[in-house]
């Protein structure tokens, strides 16, 4: 019983980081109806920011977070104008291909720079021991930071003029344009925010596990599951979806072989798509 509880707690801790990763994906989808297939590659770039900051520059590992947010935002805005802007309003396949191309370029550059060898950034952080089970300090810290970043995003979206503009563009781009909102600039800001969120989730994941330039694929797939669970286009739902996914992983693991967990996850993904095509916590759009 204690083992099950320990698994559930671990699941929730990691799930909140999955949720943060998915928030970037769902924000971009919600605002501009673009599925960013470079999401996994951007998560990995966030991991390498941690590696460079902690290993090459010798700075404290968590010091990488503001750097990743700043670099991620700048990269996101640049990517929007280079690869996404002209795809807005066109068939979904166009933006899928465009972001997939960006994904291939980023992975290719990353492979040339760092090869596909594994990297590890040891982060010393005391954990909490309980009944023979240890909850690592890095997991607790990652979950707390994911919740904090999600809260800051909420404040940005609901308590600032830029946030209001982003929501206005998401709800009705033409209406927002008529109200004098520079929608293209707002879309680029939203894309920058989405990329920054993906990057910072990568930085947090890299404090937990070793990684390679190819690690993003697994997290991108999880982000899709989380996005569908949490509702397409709903950043707060993504966090809940992430925690729910972690909870399901934690609850299922004690009762079945772990190799079955992906089957449960993706089975759930398909069921959600059938029962709730826009996700369980989908926002109503006017």
């Amino acid at each position: 019983m204690i083992g099950i509880l320990a698994s559930v707690i671990d699941g929730v801790l990691v799930g909140s980081v999955y949720g943060l990763a998915a928030m970037g994906l769902t924000l971009i989808w919600g605002v501009m109806n673009v599925i960013n297939l470079a999401h996994g590659a951007i998560i990995v770039l966030g991991m390498f920011v941690l590696y460079l900051v902690a290993t090459a520059l010798g700075l404290p590992p968590y010091g990488a977070i503001p750097i990743t947010i700043a670099l991620g935002f700048a990269l996101g805005v640049a990517l929007y104008w280079i690869a996404v802007h002209r795809m807005i309003g066109r068939p979904a396949l166009m933006s899928l291909l465009s972001t997939f191309a960006v994904n291939m370029v980023l992975i290719g550059l990353g492979t040339a720079l760092w090869t596909t060898s594994p990297y590890n950034v040891p982060v010393a952080m005391p954990g909490v021991a309980w009944q023979g089970y240890t909850f690592t300090g890095t997991h607790i810290m990652a979950a707390a930071l994911a919740a904090l970043i999600a809260a800051l995003l909420y404040l940005l979206l609901y308590r600032t003029r830029i946030g209001k503009a982003i929501r206005a563009v998401a709800n009705n781009r033409e209406g927002a344009e008529l109200s004098g909102i520079p929608t293209s600039r707002i879309l680029s800001l939203a894309f920058g925010l989405g990329v920054a969120l993906a990057g910072v989730s990568g930085t947090l994941i890299a404090t937990l596990f070793p990684f390679t330039i190819l690690s993003g694929e697994a997290y991108q797939l999880k982000s899709f599951v989380v996005t569908v669970l949490g509702g397409l286009g709903n950043p707060a739902g993504a966090l809940i979806g992430g925690v729910a996914l972690g909870l399901i992983e934690g609850l299922a693991t004690p009762f079945m072989p772990v190799s079955w967990i992906p089957i449960v996850e993706f089975g759930l993904f398909v069921l959600c798509l059938i029962a709730f095509p826009h996700g369980i916590f989908a926002l109503k759009r006017s």
Binding site: I2, G3, A6, S7, D10, G11, V14, T111, T115, T116, S117, P118, Y119, N120, P122, G127, A129, G132, Y133, T134, T136, T138, H139, I205, L208, F209, P210, T212, L214, S215, E217, A218, Y219, E249, G250, T253, P254, P257, V258, S259, I261, P262
Partner: protein, 399 residues
Amino acid sequence: MKKSIIALCGAFAINLSPIPALAQDTLTIGFTISQTGKLNNDATAQLRGIELWRDEVNANGGIKAGSKTYKVKLVSYDDESQNTRVQQLYTRLIAQDKAQFLFSPYSSGLVATAAIISEQYGKVMITTGGAEEKTYKLGNKNLFQLYSGAGQYLAGAVAALKEKNPKARVAFVYEDDPFTKAVNGATKELAKQAGLTIALEESYAGSTTDFSPVINKVISSKADALLGGGHYADGATLARQLHEQNAGMKWVTLLVAPDSPNFATLGDAAGGISVPSQWEPQVTYKPDFGPDAAAFTKAFTQKFKIEPGYHAAGGYAAGLILQHAIEQSGSIDQAKVAAELNKMDVTTLFGRTKFSTDPKEHGLQIGHKMVLAQWQKKNGALVKEVIWPNEAKTADAMY
């Protein structure tokens, strides 16, 4: 006048043709290597071993077969760690690049795919980096395995563990792939025969990134030893999380990952982790031909600025074995070289090499023996020590 010029040219031709020392050709050896994808780390080491062999052979004049000498030309492609690429590329290597002999890709799964193609075309392939035995039990005639079979991998770990704790409770946690499943199946039987208790058996997908749920299961099972792992990425993550979650394991043996020098980047998490190894730089085999382990290690370290692991030594030894077979047969004819490999029983820096000629398991490695190495802290630095078998050990096992 015209006649005398023709006669003069003819005399030159006659005079030049019988000088065998000048008859030098190229021998093309084809293979794929995982330059990208999840097998990149171990496959790169294998490639470096092969390249070092090629450079040394060519620097010494090439491979001598009868009256001819052949410079070695390697043709290789990136298989992206994917079976589908191996299938396409081995066909290309044989049909378009006219590779005369083949080396295998890295990992049992890819070797099995490459073996289908090499057998279809009747090409001799030395397999290095593939330990699963099933591939050699399918009636193949031109496949020759350099590594000890998967069944041997954890035999030393079971024996060493039994010596430390005959009542150990073992958790088997392994990647769900052909090689690790084969290792696990054989080791479970060995553990039962040794009287050890199997507390848990869990397989995981190769893409697993978080082992917390598995480790909680290990803790719940009250296991005090863990055997398993898979390849580099998952093995390194499992080792790190076992350490961070204080799983309380007194003995951990993981496949493949701890053999890489990169494993030391895990720091304290690497301490005490043991790895079955096909070869270690400290081994003291007396080779029948080629350099000994110390000379190979020195040359490899000089060239690549990193100490070789067994994947690198395996790549080098694959070249040596093929070279020896060609030189002994005095030909590059596939049938003659295969016949030479069939009767081969030699020792190189990699240890003894002898291939089974039993039609039921033709080409299976039956001469080579494995060692068990463990990461230990010496003077504050992590070093790998051989801890099993007792006659080859360089340090006592940490338990």
